[in-house]
């Protein structure tokens, strides 16, 4: 009987939410301090942003939103968005899909998991696509497949290089077979693109998996990745279940993939823009392109001149983007993200007078 006295002492458990709620008002505004998931160090949110969301202590690359990516990649942080009005429907009437879509839209302010558009990098005109992991884990359904395909086709029409930043958990289950077939659609479009000697640079960011990695993301002339980015076909848990072994931490990282011959290069975020510009420059003779800045303003159609001033940087972070070609071009991005743009609008020629 006495034993019980010593053994079973009951503690009241307070759920963590309540604990937090009851704590005196010492609340830190969200985003002020951010803990690095890799090294555990805590950084000022502002400082982290200044550092392009790369951990100053351990170089961990945090995931970026689409707008942040545009801001640090495109000249002046500008992307003239294409096909902004494509939205998902519920093709197989999957229970809960419509609600989930609405919720993702509210959460991110995006319409779908990819943003495509035209702009310049280091003065070179490109068609760019950026997947958003925030939106439905960057999964590819009909809209992502269609927008990527249209971006490929746009790059072909323009005779411009194509750059896609991938971040995706894979196919979008809720669209079932329609989702699977987007892999074939985007790949078939790339077959045409490559046949016409188009330049496609695929940038793998954390994470790139499944249906995206097994279609357009690996069908590039150059496959580069951000440090530490997860890249593979099957997910780690599934693989561990299959082989009944624990996988090493570095499995499927960019560095691991580089070592196994699956990538051309791992490029630090701070060097990414300059690296892309360099690659574009090295293909300039193929494309007959010169950087827009060098071509001068005369190459820009007159009706675009007055719009130049409207090109505000997309987000504040744009100002932190590495300075490259200062006065890139006036034509290629007269609408800042996220302003809606009609896809068929007359576009600037990226300042280049002789694109095909």
């Amino acid at each position: 009987m006495f034993k019980d006295l010593f053994q079973k002492r009951k503690y009241a458990t307070i759920p963590p939410e309540r604990l937090r709620a009851e704590r005196p008002k010492r609340e830190i505004p969200e985003g002020l301090m951010i803990r690095c998931p890799k090294c555990g160090n805590i950084h000022l949110g502002k400082e982290l942003e200044k550092n392009l969301k790369v951990c100053p202590s351990c170089d961990h690359h945090f995931r970026l939103t689409v707008r942040e990516r545009v801001a640090i990649t495109m000249d002046d942080g500008r992307l003239r968005e294409l096909d902004a009005h494509l939205e998902s429907v519920d093709p197989i009437e999957f229970p809960g899909y419509r609600e989930k879509l609405e919720q993702q839209k509210r959460k991110t302010g995006l319409r779908e998991a990819v943003m495509t558009g035209e702009g310049t990098i280091g003065g070179y005109p490109v068609v760019a696509g950026i997947l958003s992991f925030d939106f439905f884990t960057g999964s590819m359904g009909s809209v992502v497949g269609e927008k990527v395909t249209r971006a490929i086709e746009r790059a072909m029409e323009r005779g411009w290089p194509l750059i896609i930043f991938s971040a995706s958990g894979g196919a979008r289950m809720q669209e079932s077979i329609f989702s699977l077939m987007q892999m074939a659609k985007t790949s078939a479009a790339l077959a045409k693109f490559h046949e016409r000697r188009g330049l496609f640079i695929s940038v793998l960011t954390d994470p790139t998996l499944g249906g995206v990695s097994a279609s357009f993301a690996t069908l590039a002339d150059y496959i580069i990745a951000e440090p530490g980015a997860t890249f593979g076909f099957a997910g780690r848990i599934v693989i561990e279940q299959t082989i009944r072994q624990k996988l090493p931490d570095e499995f499927q990282t960019a560095e691991f993939n580089l070592q196994h011959g699956q990538l051309d290069k791992v490029v630090h975020r701070k060097e990414m823009k300059a690296f892309l510009a360099k690659l574009l420059e090295m293909h300039a003779s193929v494309y007959g392109h010169a950087p827009a800045a060098a071509e001068g303003e005369t190459a820009v159609p007159a009706d675009h001149e007055d719009r130049e001033a409207s090109g505000e940087p997309a987000i504040a972070a744009a100002e932190q983007a590495p300075e490259t070609s200062g006065k890139a071009d006036a034509g290629a991005g007269d609408d800042p993200v996220p302003a809606a743009v009609t896809s068929g609008a007359e576009t600037g020629k990226g300042g280049s007078s002789d694109d095909r």
């Binding site: 429907v89 009909s142 077979i177 699977l180 987007q182 077959a191 045409k192 279609s215 076909f233 099957a234």
Partner: protein, 331 residues
């Protein structure tokens, strides 16, 4: 005797009862013919009811039936002079994929398919029909050869999916699948694909970019296995049946979506009940579609295939200020 599935048990029980009655009658020299006829009639009714209204979960069981005919079963019944060819010339010969050259009604063709094992030992050798990159690269090598020699390509799709293992990842599983998708879309020869069992995800699609995609009545085609979907959706893989219903993975669904060109009927109770009859039906369908494609030029074939896949996808494209639905892109 074919192995029965759980949902087939009432039918199998009745069959056993009939057999017992027959045997009993013979032994005791009693005439039960009236009762037997009545039971047989009831059996036929039950059969029609059961197989006429199969749900996705039951179809899934039929698609995965261990006695269901495999690629090699079809190959030996449909083609003549089959010569199996091996290896990707890069790393290994992946037995999860078989392929080679053969004749279809006298015409040389290249045939490639996923290959499940016939028993446990065979399944282990063949990784249960789930290819590694070398399997997809073997398939690609054979299809390139077909393109070079202007032979039509016939593929049989039957896999749970690409092998999800560490070695497969290290050798570029993603790239191998992606490359097949891209190159299949640009071959200037007719390609007819037949989903004979389980069409599982990217590993299935890697043999699936054809001018025509046919599907057996009880085959399935899905972006993720219903078990996988269930474990993602409800953290419970045992709810696969419900996921199967939700995901619209049957031949009838895919035909309705315009993704599959023809559904090849199966004998009552599934392809494994009569492999010969099934193979004849597949041959007939493949041959019919091939006839239509043989008259096309390489350019026309490429364009035909491109258009087929380019059109797949359903979405709305709202212009600012207006919401016009153009959901039916898949035609």
């Amino acid at each position: 005797m074919t192995a029965e599935l759980p949902f087939e048990r009432p039918l199998a029980d009745l069959r056993r009862k009939i057999e017992e009655l027959k045997k009993f009658g013979e032994e005791k020299q009693i005439d039960f013919s009236e009762e037997i006829a009545r039971l047989e009639e009831r059996y036929r009714q039950m059969e029609e009811e059961l197989y006429g209204n199969l749900g996705a979960a039951q179809i899934l069981q039929l698609a995965r039936h261990h006695q269901r005919p495999t690629s090699l079963d079809y190959i030996e019944r449909i083609f003549t002079d089959f010569i199996e060819l091996h290896g990707d010339r890069l790393f290994a010969d992946d037995l999860a994929i078989v392929g080679g050259i053969a004749r279809l009604d006298g015409i040389p063709v290249t045939v490639v398919g996923h290959q499940r094992g016939k028993d446990t030992k065979d399944n282990i050798r063949r990784y249960f029909g789930s290819p590694h990159p070398e399997g997809f690269r073997k398939a690609l090598r054979l299809m390139r050869q077909a393109d070079k020699f202007r032979r039509p390509i016939i593929t049989f799709i039957d896999t749970k999916g690409a092998y999800p293992g560490d070695t497969a990842e290290m050798r570029g599983q993603s790239e191998a699948i992606a490359r097949n998708l891209m190159e299949m879309s640009s071959f200037g020869v007719p390609i007819v694909c037949v989903v004979i069992g389980e069409g599982g995800s990217g590993g299935a699609l890697a043999l699936g970019v054809g001018n025509r995609v046919l599907m057996l009545e009880n085959a399935i085609y899905s972006v993720i296995s219903p078990n996988g979907a269930a474990s993602i959706l409800w953290k419970d893989a045992s709810k696969a049946d419900q996921a199967a219903e939700y995901m619209k993975i049957t031949a009838a669904d895919l035909k309705a979506f315009g993704i599959v060109d023809e559904v090849v009927p199966e004998p009552m109770g599934g392809a494994h009940r009569n492999p010969d009859e099934q193979a004849a039906a597949v041959k007939d369908a493949v041959w019919r579609h091939l006839q239509e494609l043989l008259g096309m030029t390489p350019e026309e074939l490429i364009e035909d295939r491109f258009r087929k896949f380019r059109a797949i996808g359903r979405f709305t494209e709202a212009q600012p200020e207006q919401t016009a639905e153009c959901a039916d892109y898949a035609e």
